[in-house]
Symmetry: C2
Subunit: 148 residues, 2 copies
DNA sequence: TAGGTATATTTGTATATACAATTGTTGTAA
DNA sequence: TTACAACAATTGTATATACAAATATACCTA
């Protein structure tokens, strides 16, 4: 990936700006590739994230705040995101008995099955995207990203 | 930035997955910070990008396809994006005489003035975001990002 | 030069997201 | 116990984006 080539400029960009642009371009590529891979499952990246979080709960329910905490979206959208998953039968939702303000969200067996399928696809995509890296380089990259 | 802490997991994430999540988290932070900084100017990141591209044209008009080529958004949205800038008086738009299918877009003096103001703010933000990096590290990071 | 094809942009529409306001529930202090 | 603040989630609304179809102009060729 060559930044100057993609954004078609001949000037040299200051290093800090260039870095941020570079990150944006990489992220765009990742999102594009991932979305395309998830499309056959009719699941968005965010929906996939929610399913993963729910599976991580190992049977325990997660409430909306918890989901929200571990995601990027805003609370209001998490509600609607779960609505979508509910409509697909991937999650179950009920009001928490101890605290009726909260809702409890579980992944359903259907959700788990689908998630397992998606996992395979996503792994492949991750392989493809990081194809040019060896282990050492990935570690180095993660180390550098920590500085943000 | 600690990935595990942010997404609140205790399991260790495979390195490739972790890298992609890491990039997403970094990018979210960048977008959030940038958007907030641009807010007082009532300009979105994409609108800012268009203005920068137009300034780079140095008087020469850019048509929509050109803008689109150098951006991330889809064509259909570039039209509407320019609509917004037009409404703010930051750009001018007219039909190309040589090829009436094309439109020519220029930045206006008002647009240039505003852009100069924004530049200062954006530079500061870039400084803040990349604050923990030295020059060597930024180069290394750019080098690694090239592998995507 | 008429008809079809390619090009450049716009419009329509469904979905996604951000932000603010609202609803319903719980905790608490007078 | 009542009134009020805090909490958890939802709803409303404006804006953003993706994708497909439509419009308008230019090019080409039989």
């Amino acid at each position: 990936m060559n930044v100057e080539e993609i954004i078609k400029t001949k000037k040299d960009i200051p290093l800090k700006s260039r870095t941020l642009i570079h990150l944006t371009l990489v992220q765009n590529k990742i999102i594009e590739t991932m979305s395309a891979a998830l499309k056959p499952y009719d699941v968005s990246i965010q929906q996939f994230n929610v399913l993963r979080i729910l599976r991580g709960q190992q049977g325990k329910p997660a409430n909306l705040s918890t989901l929200n905490e571990r995601m990027v979206t805003k609370m209001s959208n998490t509600t609607r995101l779960v609505d979508k998953l509910l409509a697909k039968g991937f999650v179950k939702r009920n009001i928490c008995k101890e605290n009726r303000r909260k809702v409890e969200i579980y992944i359903t067996p259907t959700g788990e099955d689908t998630l397992m399928q998606i996992d395979k696809t996503v792994s492949k995509v991750e392989e493809v995207i990081t194809n040019n890296f060896n282990n050492e380089e990935l570690k180095k990259l993660n180390h550098l990203l920590n500085k943000f």
